[in-house]
Amino acid sequence: MNNRLKDLRTERNWTQADLAEHVSVSRQTINAIEKGKFDPSLPLAFRLARLFGMSIEEVFLDDPVRD
């Protein structure tokens, strides 16, 4: 699943650790999500979207090729 996490994070001058702190996960998890290696659970996706004031669909983009 593609996502805009890195763009949204860098717009705010946050490090991966900053973002991880905001949503109570490890930096490794943020890194893996940003790189598309790991798809977050729905609760974590909601926390991330809420943090950026967006809907889940605006942060996480469907990737039909991988489905």
Partner: protein, 138 residues
């Protein structure tokens, strides 16, 4: 590359990892006591041997509780890495264990394996699988 400052999630994971490591060492130590104590420490006295077995069971319960708490405390990616590693360890233990039993019944192997060998094998497989998981999602 960014500097890595431990987050709250990282610190919780470190604390729970340390607790789990302590319980693991405690369980292994009591297992060694129960295994070697009768021959080397208390000259096969039944009460002392039962005490050591009870101590080992108690440490085993503590170890399992620590492991459950650890899995609850870590975040979802770390939990996935651990669960994958546990699945691989279980698979290796199951497949390897039955293969050994079958080979032994067929008198293909003469080496009498100790249960400690299986524990050590599972431990090594688990650690390798965890390391591989961390590398995969790094």
């Amino acid at each position: 590359m960014q500097a890595h400052h431990p987050t709250g999630g990282d610190q919780a994971a470190i604390k729970n990892t340390a607790l789990l490591a302590l319980w693991t060492v405690g369980w292994a130590a009591t297992l060694a006591l129960a295994r070697f104590g009768p021959a080397h420490l208390w000259d096969s006295q039944t009460m002392a041997s039962w005490g050591a077995v009870g101590l080992n069971l108690g440490a085993g319960v503590g170890w399992n509780v620590a492991h459950a708490r650890y899995l609850r405390a870590i975040d979802e990616l770390q939990r996935k890495i651990m669960q994958d590693a546990l699945a691989i360890s279980l698979g290796v233990g199951w497949v390897g264990g039955f293969a050994y039993v079958v080979a032994e019944r067929a008198e293909l192997v003469t080496l009498e394996a100790d249960v400690g060998v299986l524990s050590a094998l599972l431990g090594v497989v688990y650690m390798i699988a965890v390391a591989a998981g961390h590398l995969r999602y790094r």
